[in-house]
């Protein structure tokens, strides 16, 4: 029997001040340096509204320590700045091992542990051709019910790295 998912209080809707069409919409600016290796990268883009974190390449065990440190710092900045929504673009993320997936689990757990007013929403922008993403993000959505949604990415890449 599937257990009932743990219910998380959703982010406070009053913390969504961003009208993306408004000329005065806030631009999210984070100070964190990108993570870049020969096989994997994590970059933050400035955007109006949500912070956009793009993950590309192969998140394998080799990048685990750096990815873990990066996500802790990212969480620190996002929560400090009171950003209500983060988009994680995985359109070019070819694979993520379970050890790196655990980093995302720890990150989502940290969000659920925040005071409800500081909690932020996470949108995974997935690549439907990379089939593992659907299963992995379903599991993440299950453990962080109410905080995570999954949508298709606009930057989807072929299923094998060129």
């Amino acid at each position: 029997m599937d257990k009932a998912p743990p219910t998380q209080a959703p982010p406070d809707p009053s913390r969504k001040p961003y009208d993306l069409d408004s000329p005065g919409a806030l631009v999210t600016m984070l100070k964190l340096s990108p993570l870049s290796t020969s096989t994997f990268s994590a970059n933050i883009s400035e955007s109006k509204g949500p912070a956009v974190l793009s993950l590309s390449g192969n998140a394998d065990t080799l990048v685990l320590p750096r990815f873990s440190g990066f996500m802790k710092a990212f969480h620190g900045e996002v929560s400090e700045q009171g950003i209500p929504e983060v988009h994680v673009d995985t359109g070019k993320l070819y694979f993520m091992t379970s050890s790196c997936l655990k980093v995302l689990v720890a990150w989502l757990t940290s969000i659920t542990e925040l005071d409800s007013k500081k909690r932020y929403h996470v949108v995974f922008l997935s690549n439907p051709d990379l089939h593992w993403q659907r299963r992995s993000f379903d599991a993440l959505r299950h453990i962080a019910d109410g905080l995570v949604t999954v949508r298709p990415s606009a930057t989807s890449a072929p299923k094998l790295q060129p």
Partner: protein, 170 residues
Amino acid sequence: MTTGLAHLTLHFRPTYELITSAREFVTQFYDSILDDPDTTSRVALTAQELLENATKYSSDGSTMLDIDVTSDGAAHVLCVRTSNGTNAEHLIELQRRFEEMRKSGDAFAYYTDLMVRTAKSRDSSGLGLARVWAEGEMDVRCSIVGMEATIIARTNVGLRSRPFGHRPNA
């Protein structure tokens, strides 16, 4: 039962870079044999996770990855195996994890519960095996002979109508 419809064996000393290459090779190889890219993706995920485990726990650094498709009448079964020597402590831990999985009986519930339980733990969590069971949708078993552990993951598959193409001069 027919064996060796699409048999692939790699015997090597995996590094993390080689595991990624092996997963990509498995994807390309079985993409032209299996009838569903989603199934190929599950097989590739299984190969990656089992090889990562073998790399962590192999006593001499080497492991064998064996993937085979067998047919029994109209049904086809794909089996992924990794074998490697390991230490007594890991064998006990492996048996404990398989017992835990057997008692749970629900792959997705076990996987997501394990995610939550081990989220902040730095120790090895067994998430790779649970992922193979839940996301890979594999029937996962373990065989221990002496100090050698073999992990066996099976799933039913469909083959392309002409999975092996045309042989030259056929």
